[in-house]
């Protein structure tokens, strides 16, 4: 059934279809409507879950961590400083291998205070061991939430479903709301490897030594380093699991997609713009305009940012003259994190082949600065004509 709702409602409806048992959240703009909706569903009885109004984001994730450890499917959502306040728990959830799904409604971080959209919040969490998926429209928000539960539970790794604050969260657009039966067919009930249980007591997340140690059965158990290595290994393996996720999703819902990338007019392109989230859809308009001018340009949305689909991206960009990375965040003191990741992937897979594309980096929309499509088009055109700068260039800066 097609409906018109805002992006937060798309997320909430997706969550409801996944039947989480425990939801905990703390209000922060622009995330609030997601959790308000979920509290409505719980109170009206259309979702059978425990809704916990916590006293902080740190506690929101604490509730999810504990509830998940006890065997529940859980959900939370946050933005900006709320996510940063959770940071310790974000790391903890990954280390404990809990399949938590959290929507990050992307917003700029303070100081100074700013409630508008950029992606500094989630990008700053890229090294925490979570899977990060980015959405470009409402259908992707809803579908990604559903996929995220499947994947998180498959690989025992938590997932952030990231979507742009306001631009998606508060904008109304049509999308298809699937039937509950389809979601149930795609997503089996959560069956944890272990859930806290007095009949089978275990002590979870205890102090773990630098070296391996023998357990009570005489078997050699991991040290901290082995446990952390396995997280990294499983994150890398999650790339393959994501491909399976897309195949299964397509089988049930009939919507097929590449799990990692969303290319537009890239096949014959000499220049490819790359980005995360709704900006990549806006760039399609610029691409169409430049194509009309005869410039062979395409745009590629990166949907899966952690684990980084390095091989898929490098292969997709093979033979291109230039890659133009647009980002709403940066690794302060250097450049956009996505640009760095891309360079690294290109160097690894295309280095020495003589077909290494140049990489240019543009920073846009920081703190909700309006990104005019004409401005994007002009920037992209200029980048196809010459390398603009070694340093990341801020679009629309009025210094």
């Amino acid at each position: 059934m097609h409906i018109i709702e805002d992006g937060n409602a798309a997320a909430a409806l997706g969550v409801r279809l996944c039947r989480p048992q425990v939801i905990a959240a703390y209000p922060i703009t622009p995330q609030t409507p997601v959790t308000e909706k979920l509290s409505e569903y719980v109170e009206e009885g259309s979702l059978s879950a425990q809704y916990i109004p916590v006293e902080s984001e740190h506690s929101a994730l604490a509730v999810c961590i504990a509830a998940s450890s006890a065997g529940a499917r859980v959900f939370t959502a946050t933005s900006a400083n709320g996510l940063l306040y959770m940071h310790e728990q974000v790391q903890w959830a990954a280390g404990a291998r809990l399949p938590i799904v959290m929507c990050v409604v992307n917003r700029a971080v303070g100081a100074p205070w700013n409630i508008w959209n950029d992606q500094q919040d989630s990008i700053s969490q890229r090294d925490t061991g979570w899977i990060q998926m980015y959405c470009a429209d409402h259908q992707q928000i809803l579908d990604t939430v559903i996929k995220a539960y499947w994947l998180a539970e498959k690989v025992s790794i938590p997932i952030m479903v990231c979507y742009d604050g306001y631009i998606l969260s508060h904008t109304f657009m049509p999308f298809d709301l699937p039937e509950a039966g389809k979601v149930d067919a795609f997503l089996p009930p959560f069956q944890p490897d272990y859930a806290l249980n007095p009949r089978e007591p275990a002590n979870l997340n205890t102090v773990t030594l630098p070296d391996v140690r023998v357990d009570v059965h005489g078997e050699l158990a991991h040290g901290y380093m082995e446990i952390r290595y396995l997280l990294q290994e499983d994150l890398r393996l999650a790339l393959a699991a994501a491909a399976e996720m897309e195949r299964r999703f397509a089988g049930v819902f009939g919507r097929t997609a590449d799990p990692y990338l969303e290319p537009y007019r890239c096949d014959d392109a000499d220049f490819v713009a790359v980005g995360l989230g709704s900006l990549t859809y806006q760039l399609r308009v610029s691409v169409d305009a430049l194509r009309a001018e005869g410039i062979r340009v395409g745009v590629m949305g990166v949907r899966f940012y952690r684990p980084f689909p390095d091989e898929a991206i490098a292969n997709a960009l093979k033979g291109k003259k230039s890659v133009i990375v647009f980002e709403k965040a940066l690794s302060y003191g250097y450049e956009g994190a996505l640009a760095s990741d891309l360079k690294s992937a290109l160097y690894e897979y295309l280095g020495g082949t003589g077909s290494l594309p140049t990489v240019q980096n543009f920073i846009a929309g920081i703190g909700g600065r309006e990104i005019h499509t004409q401005e994007l088009t002009d920037t992209l055109r200029a980048a196809t004509q010459a390398r603009v700068s070694k340093e990341p260039v801020w679009i629309g800066l009025k210094l």
Binding site: V54, S56, I65, A66, P198, N205, L209
Partner: protein
């Protein structure tokens, strides 16, 4: 209503803690924890933030406790209890007891926000603050509940200049069904209070005074004596607040009848941490104690 008091002979013999823990020799927490778990029983889930108990609980892959336990981040203890409770509710489990055990730093300082949140929501679990009056696990630094005059690693020469934070009073202000102040030196009082509160609704808060040989500076063999001295001097009181009603218990209750307190000087002189307390300061504290007890006496008249 009054249940029969547990005696040493009627205390269950089943143990939930294995011997051979990493706790310090003569650890007061070990005693309170051991007896506390007896009262909680086998159908219990534990939550523990970083603290001495984390070490006592054992290092991966060996656990000292025979109950399921979730180790959580320092500031999140009570919120984690909420999370486990929510899952139990979702699973229709109404029988399992959820109990958090945190130190005084994890309770009175970094964990206070989460504890206040859970208590305000009325989440049905028992929170134990074992108060050894400092960050003992990190090498004896001051906490919110370190008493005035105590030398710690970061109040090294003058001793702590501020008063001990009254956490049970803070928790009582959350309109809890049950707040108790206990001591490792009175394990049966702790045991009976746990049994008493188990079926009360909402959050139950226990504050347990825990003598700590390395943190307080005394020979381990005197741990119980010192814990008892804190009570007999009227310096630390055993009590409970049931649905807002305050009542002294056990040895503190008897002190009201006796109307004779051991001079607090004896308590201070039993531990090296108080060595910088002057006779004048001790006299001041003695006056505060006497005033407090005058109030108790008047109430009982």
């Amino acid at each position: 209503m009054q249940q029969a008091k547990t005696t040493i002979l009627s205390l269950p013999t089943g143990e939930f803690v294995h011997p051979g823990t990493r706790a310090c020799t003569g650890c007061g927490l070990s005693i309170a924890y051991r007896v506390g778990l007896k009262a909680l029983g086998p159908d219990t889930m534990l939550i523990v933030p970083p603290s001495c108990l984390t070490v006592l609980q054992g290092l991966f892959p060996v656990a000292s406790t025979k109950l399921p336990c979730l180790n959580v981040t320092f500031a999140s203890t009570a919120a984690a209890a909420t999370g486990i409770l929510a899952t139990l509710k979702a699973q229709g489990n109404t029988h399992t007891t959820v109990a958090a055990w945190a130190g005084d730093g994890g309770t009175s300082d970094i964990g206070l926000q989460a504890l206040s949140g859970a208590a305000e929501r009325g989440d049905n679990f028992i929170y134990f603050c074992y108060d050894n009056e400092g960050y003992m696990n990190t090498g004896v630094q001051r906490s919110g509940t370190t008493p005035i005059g105590a030398i710690t690693a970061n109040t090294p020469f003058k001793g702590k200049l501020q008063q001990k934070k009254d956490v049970p009073a803070i928790m009582a202000a959350h309109h809890l069904s049950y707040v108790a102040a206990c001591s490792a030196a009175y394990p049966l009082d702790l045991y009976d209070k746990i049994l008493k509160c188990r079926d009360l609704p909402g959050t139950k808060y226990f504050h347990i005074h825990i003598p700590c040989p390395p943190g307080w500076g005394y020979d381990p063999r005197y741990g119980i004596k010192i814990g008892r001295l804190a009570v007999e001097t009227g310096y630390y009181d055993l009590y409970e607040v049931v649905n807002g009603e305050f009542r002294l218990t056990a040895a503190s209750e008897k002190l009201v009848e006796k109307r004779k307190l051991v001079p607090v000087r004896e308590y201070f002189r039993s531990q090296s941490r108080f060595k910088v307390l002057t006779e004048e300061q001790i006299a001041d504290i003695q006056k505060q104690i006497d005033d407090k007890w005058e109030g108790y006496y008047k109430k009982s008249d």
